[in-house]
Symmetry: C2
Subunit: 194 residues, 2 copies
DNA sequence: AAATATGCTTGATTTTTGTCAACGCGCGGC
DNA sequence: GCCGCGCGTTGACAAAAATCAAGCATATTT
C-alpha cells in the first residue's frame, strides 16, 4: 500500500527513492482503513495527522451557527487530507474531515513529516511542489469565487474536475461551489438551453 | 533598500544571513522604482519577475469579456507581487499587476531565485514558509467566499486587513470582496444599525 | 482657476440566488 | 419485501446583490 506513495513522491519530486529511503518512509506513514462516514478530524480538535489518500474520498467542511455546511475541499486518490493551519501550528481546527467512501489512508504526524523532510531530499522536493501547486489551485478558486456567477463556477468545475461531479452527491458539489442544492439543480436543467 | 529584504528573510526563516549571503542576494534582486499606475505585469505576458514590495502598494486583477475588473489580491510593504503560475511555468498570465502608489520593488527572475534557493538555506526556508502561509491564507479566503454573505465578508476583511480599507479606494475593496461598489457603499451605511 | 475625471452615494429596478415546502424516486437496512 | 430516509427536483416566494442612472464632492490636470 505504500507503493502508491512512493510513486507519488518520485513523480512529484522527479527523483528516485532508494530502498533505504522507502523503508524510512514506510516506517513513519501508518496505513489505516476508514469506513464511509468516519471522521479523520473534527472541529475543535488539533489536526494531528496529514493523510495521503491511497483509495477513497473525503470532504473537508465547516459548520456555521445555523448548522449549514460548507465544503472547503474534496480529497481523492493521490491527494492529501488535513488542515494545514492546525497541523503546522497546533491550533484547534474549525473544520471537519469526513470520509465519503471506504478508504485507505497513510497517516503521518507533523514531527515525523519534518524528519522525513530533513533526511530525504525527494520528500523535501515533494512538499515544496505540493505547497506551490496548492497555492496556485487556491488562487484559481478564489478568482472563480469572486468573479464568476453560480453557473459559470459550475462550468468551470466541469472543466477542471469533472470526476467530482460524477463521484459526489449533487448537494455536496453545490456546497463546494458555494451555492444551494436547489440552485445547482436548476443550473443543470437549464444548461442545454444556452 | 535591500535591507528590508534581508530583515524579511531573517525573520521568516529564523536564520541569520552572513555578509557574503547578503551580497549574493543583493546582486540578484534589482531595485526598481515604479510610479502610480505603472504596470508590473499585463495579461498575455509571461510573468518574468517576482517583486518584493519595499514601499508602495499594488493590485493583481483580471479583466473579463465585459470589461469588468476583479482584484485577486493586493500587495503592500513586505508582500510579493507576481503570478506564481505564470512565473514558475512560463505560461502567459491572465492577470494584470498595477501599482497603486509610487513604489520601490526588488525584482528577481525565476532562474535567479532558484539559484538563491539552492545556495542560501535562509532563502530556501523563507520560500517554504511563504508558500505554506500563502496556502493557509488562500484557504481562509475561499472559505469566506463560499460561506459568507457580502456583509460578513466585509466584516471579515475589517478584522483581517483593516489597513486595506483605509489605504485603497472603496471600489477596489469591493472588487476584492467580489461585490459591486454600490453594495459595499450600502453595507457601510447600514453597518451601525445592527 | 477652470475643466475634467474619479470616487462615493442614493434611488429605482432587474437579476440572481436562497429559502421553504411538497413530492417522487431509489437504495439500504431490517 | 417493506419502510424510511437521503437525494434530487420543482414551484412559489423572499432576500440579496447587480445594474442603471443621476447627482455631488473631491482630486487631478491643464
Amino acid at each position: 500500500m505504500h507503493e502508491t506513495l512512493f510513486k507519488y513522491i518520485e513523480d512529484k519530486s522527479g527523483m528516485t527513492l532508494d530502498s533505504n529511503e522507502k523503508i524510512l518512509i514506510a516506517e513513519k506513514f501508518k496505513a489505516k482503513k476508514f469506513r464511509k462516514r468516519q471522521y479523520l478530524l473534527q472541529e475543535g480538535d488539533v489536526c494531528k495527522y496529514a493523510g495521503f489518500v491511497v483509495r477513497g474520498a473525503a470532504r473537508m467542511f465547516s459548520v456555521n451557527d445555523k448548522g449549514q455546511e460548507h465544503i472547503v475541499r474534496f480529497g481523492v486518490e493521490g491527494w492529501w487530507l488535513g488542515d494545514p493551519e492546525s497541523y503546522t501550528q497546533g491550533t484547534p481546527t474549525q473544520f471537519h474531515i469526513e470520509l465519503l467512501e471506504d478508504s485507505d489512508l497513510l497517516l503521518i504526524t507533523w514531527d515525523q513529516f519534518q524528519e522525513l523532510n530533513a533526511t530525504i531530499p525527494a520528500v523535501a522536493a515533494t512538499l515544496k511542489s505540493m505547497d506551490k501547486q496548492s497555492f496556485i489551485a487556491s488562487q484559481k478558486r478564489i478568482h472563480a469565487a469572486i468573479s464568476l456567477s453560480a453557473e459559470e463556477r459550475y462550468e468551470e468545475l466541469m472543466k477542471s474536475y469533472p470526476s467530482f461531479i460524477l463521484r459526489f452527491p449533487q448537494n455536496m458539489v453545490a456546497s463546494y461551489l458555494g451555492i444551494s442544492p436547489e440552485t445547482l439543480s436548476r443550473i443543470k436543467k437549464n444548461a442545454h438551453n444556452n
